[in-house]
Symmetry: C2
Subunit: 289 residues, 2 copies
């Protein structure tokens, strides 16, 4: 009964082809066929107001847009939206708020407009990103996040890594993309998304999670995996999802490390094959199980 | 005589330590010492007006700030500036224009303020970047760039790659950084800069080049190397420097490929050891010399 009161969010289904073939000459002088990752501009409009243009592989554009709006704090839950419509002919994602849909009044008429202006005024360009900016206010919000002190069995980690190897289709085919995954407590991958920008991939995971309300109360048993570096933004995005375990194939930066310590996040890098380095929370890694 | 009329640009010398030691537990349960790349916020002020906060390794902050201002179109040449002063205690780079220095009138009083507002209105968040945004007007400017049709001998490429291996100090030590290099026609590296954001590294190269006026008329013989992917921004930044050869250890994205074609750039990826793939301009790669 409660669910029937939640207005339905209408989503287009506009995934794009993920890679394209080109010819390149190798060191022997031969022309070979090689694949490159697709990369498309997607301008996001919230109640007809243009927010930003994202460059994306386009494999999960509706999840990307939803996750972007959540991670940047434009909305706090998907039920605030009535529709996300992605149209590649116009390279646009038209997002309509419930408020506009129900009353004809844009979400922008409220305090949001002012809040966004203030956010933009505290723009920080971050490190190795696909999105490039977090806003001052997000850093403040982090102080209010309390992550559960999670444990991780190495056998679970290895189960997850084996699935990542099976999932990475575009990376294997074309390279130049990053992947992010959401996994459950057993290390089973629930969702795997690749994108040319790894923060796009992280945002799309957030969007996918938000569209699966059954997961809403299970953050305490979820894990987040990324092929990319553990920069501050990646730690922030993981924390915003309420997830206490962050895993990466790559290394970390100083700010990522510093934030993981503050948040008491279990953070492992260099996860490849049987190898890993537990950068923070190593006492909660269960070697024998 | 002409040179003495050029006002001197005063620069601080505020490079930071590049890496820090932490302890991490590996898969055998042993705590090992490992290094992580430094990552520091640096807020850029132009004539006392805050522009942006960059996250940087801090190895060449003055070059980074100068290159950022040039690549984003805030200034068109270093002679417009009187001073760049980087102070890590306040995490600030104070940039003073010649105009403010000479007449007390901020560079912002002119049309620049309006131009910047217009730029910001056309913000595009780009792909896999350290900086995250190019502005609409930059894409327009590209149409006016005509790059020379360069040739490249494989022996020169291999000479360059051998030096890259010798230069990559932070990457070897701590990982999680990208390097960019500027090389001459013989493949000799003139400048190699690493940063946590690869677009910071590219910007710092631009800044270093601008501080070496002897190079100003030699773009036609220079080459640009990056460890990162060949995304649209990397192609744009290379083109803005007037350099017609772009080399990468990594692959490319569709927009990077598309721009290289438009600009007739000689673009090679997957440059490692003896291997490479000539993605565009392969007929200008000289295999035997």
């Amino acid at each position: 009964v409660a669910e029937s009161r939640v207005p339905k969010l209408l989503l287009s289904q506009s995934a794009r082809p993920a890679s394209f073939g080109i010819q390149a000459m190798n060191e022997t002088g031969h022309l070979i066929d090689t694949r490159i990752a697709g990369e498309h501009p997607l301008s996001v409009y919230l109640d007809k107001r243009e927010l930003i243009t994202l460059m994306t592989l386009g494999s999960a554009p509706e999840c990307l847009v939803l996750g972007y709006l959540l991670n940047q704090g434009f909305i706090s839950q998907p039920s605030e939206l009535a529709q996300i419509h992605v149209d590649w002919d116009t390279e646009a994602a038209a997002v309509t708020s419930q408020q506009l849909s129900a009353s004809g009044q844009s979400i922008w008429d409220e305090a949001l407009g002012q809040a966004i202006v203030e956010k933009m005024a505290h723009k920080t360009v971050t490190t190795g990103c696909g999105q490039g900016s977090v806003y001052g206010s997000q850093m403040d919000q982090l102080a209010q996040i309390h992550l559960p002190a999670r444990t991780l069995a190495v056998s679970v980690l290895q189960h997850l890594l084996a699935q990542v190897r099976a999932h990475e289709s575009i990376y294997k085919e074309a390279g130049a993309v990053h992947g992010c995954a959401l996994a459950n407590a057993q290390g089973h991958i629930l969702c795997f998304i690749e994108d040319v920008g790894r923060h796009n991939a992280a945002d799309a995971i957030r969007g996918w999670m938000a569209l699966n309300p059954a997961l809403a109360n299970q953050q305490e048993s979820l894990m987040f995996y990324t092929t990319g570096r553990l920069t501050s933004e990646m730690v922030i995005k993981c924390a915003q999802m309420g997830i206490g375990i962050l895993l990466s194939r790559s290394g970390l930066t100083q700010m990522g490390y510093s934030l993981a310590r503050k948040l008491n996040m279990l953070m492992l890098g260099r996860c490849q094959g049987k190898h890993f380095l537990a950068y923070h929370g190593h006492e909660r890694v269960l070697l024998n199980d």
